[in-house]
């Protein structure tokens, strides 16, 4: 339970409110974001935020530890162990047996133990063993690669409350590269789905793009982790269900997963509490499916919109140029931040939406025209 999860660490504003997170676990409040296109067009995003709105950057080990301790103080039984496998005799035939290695006594060598439970909520991340045990199926995943770089204080000042996002074929063919400020260093990384073997090339290109801004920095840590691209085919099986990265609840386009992991965990737990009538009744698959249905209905729109954005704007360099151009628009910034910070897809003014659609199409057409002109121009 003392691992340090490789993660961007960005949490939306609603998470702080919904989960009563104290201000101390937030290292930095990012209020400005810079999006940089392949042709170095830079757009500052964040002018529409008010004083109370921010994107919280946190260290996962700090936040995870706080949540765990709080759960323990509310009566949860914490076990420092490694899940090995589960045995389910079937509905109505008795409890599920969990086989795990207990690390409480000795943190190096685990002691094999078993535990009997009524239902399991698998929250063990992208490489979930619980998912493997219940044959939940595979998902496509992106590989995210990140280097933590300690840069000199003057350079760190530039990133005081600014995060950067770099798009381009050199940085990633279907994702983006980022520079996120952590508490005293920056995390520079990139990711990809379609060309995982070239991730080091993309990272080198990302470092080159941020060269000036991170000059004189020292790499203090290198991390890589898979990011699910879509939910697993079977998110529930009998009395076992999955939440968070284990279920594949990561959005496209931005790759956000922390809030959805926490929220899905909460919703699954609420479903169990409600249907088991505070632990007096047995829970079965239909009860767990209640949580799945509620989740799908609540967040389907968010995921679909981000999927469409990714398909439209991460397609090619002209599309990315158009993306950055669109982000200069105040209406776009307002809609983006409203939906990111509060996790609701707000329709907004229909007239402005039509204008936005027109501008989007125009941007994409112009960017593609410039690229086509570049290809065909052979003025010898």
């Amino acid at each position: 339970m003392d691992n340090c999860k490789p993660c961007g660490g960005a949490i939306p504003l609603c998470m702080v409110g919904e989960f009563d997170l104290p201000e101390e676990i937030i290292d930095r409040k990012v209020t400005k974001m810079k999006m940089i296109s392949p042709s170095n067009r830079a757009v500052d995003v964040g002018q529409t935020l008010n004083d109370k709105e921010y994107i919280g950057m946190c260290r996962r080990e700090v936040m995870d530890d706080f949540l765990r301790k709080r759960a323990k103080s509310l009566g949860t039984n914490l076990v420092n162990g490694l899940f090995m496998k589960l045995e389910d005799p079937g509905q109505g035939n008795g409890a599920i047996t969990i086989h795990y290695n207990d690390y409480e006594a000795d943190s190096k060598v685990g002691e094999p133990k078993t535990m009997e439970v009524d239902c399991i909520i698998g929250a063990d991340g992208a490489n979930s063993r619980v998912a493997k045990n219940i044959d939940a199926g595979e998902y496509d995943y992106a590989i995210a690669f990140q280097e933590r770089i300690k840069i000199p204080d003057e350079k760190m000042e530039y990133y005081k409350d600014l995060a950067e996002m770099y798009v381009g074929d050199d940085v990633s063919p279907d994702f983006y590269g980022w520079v996120f400020p952590k508490y005293d260093h920056v995390a520079v990384g990139t990711g990809t789905v379609v060309n995982k073997t070239a991730i080091k090339t993309y990272q080198a290109a990302m470092r080159k793009r941020a060269e000036e801004k991170c000059a004189g920095g020292k790499i203090i840590r290198v991390e890589a982790h898979p990011i699910p691209e879509h939910p697993r085919p079977r998110r529930v099986q009998g009395r076992v269900t999955l939440v968070g990265d284990a279920a594949g609840y990561v959005t496209k386009c931005s790759g956000e997963g922390i809030y959805f992991a926490a929220k899905s965990g909460r919703m699954a737990a609420e479903a169990v509490v409600e249907r088991s009538e505070n632990g007096t009744k047995e829970v079965d698959e239909s009860d767990l499916r209640l949580y799945l249905d509620k989740w799908d209905r609540k967040y389907w729109a968010t995921y679909k919109v981000l999927d469409i954005l990714q398909k439209v704007f991460y397609r090619s360099n002209p599309a990315r140029e158009a993306f950055v151009e669109m982000c200069a628009d105040e209406y776009v910034q307002k809609m983006t931040f409203d939906s990111y910070l509060y996790k609701t897809v707000v329709p907004g003014n229909p007239l402005d939406d039509m204008k936005l659609l027109g501008n989007t199409v125009a941007s994409i057409v112009r960017a593609n025209a410039l690229r086509a002109a570049g290809k065909s121009q052979v003025n010898v």
Partner: protein, 248 residues
Amino acid sequence: MSMSIASTATFAVNKVAATSKVARSAKAAKSRSSVVTRVAAETKTRAPGPLERGGTLEGEKAAGKDAGAAARAAAASSAAATRAANADNAVWSDPRWVNGTWDLSQFKLADGETDWNAVIDAEVVHRKALEDCPAVYDEDGLFDTSIVPWWVWVKRFHLPEAEKINGRAAMVGYAFAYLIDAAGGAGLVDLHQSFLGKTAIFVTVAFCLFVRRLDDLDTLGVLADEATFYDKQWNATWEGKERPSDNK
């Protein structure tokens, strides 16, 4: 006109990477739903062509016969190979690029109007240069393509394409009108008045609009699949089961 633009925008490439055939064909074969994007490495070095050698003429005969920047860029192109090779060497510069955007006052025509076509040409070279060799700049770019008026885009890019499509539609229409008339059917005016004729005309126009090349048929198919694929992935867990919310 493009020659004068080439002389003002310089794109100096010290070491020109040889274009490997593998990389070029990989780029051409890339469709939207393909999974493999090969990062091309320099494989064989071909003998440099005349463009790369700096031309076939020498001395006085070569005066004023420089290749355009875009042509030189095209000779050195092919994505990652060029990028990797030229990353440290290529420098794009243009005196008309001031403070992160194009200085429109340097793009004036004889009568004082802004030469938008020159702006577009310059931006094309700029984007191509930066795409091939992503460079590190101190300043942030600010140029927004929407400052170029809409009629410039229409005139330069849409009209030629529209002309081509209208031409195709006209050829198809003329051929079919003749055949239908010869087959004893309606003449041109009657064609427009019958329902079947109107439908046929509508279908032809729509077809020419959406399917400009035969490849577009595949693209449309891929787009249709893509639009629903994510939904299928999300609904996978509900296969064979009913959603509680559907029962209500």
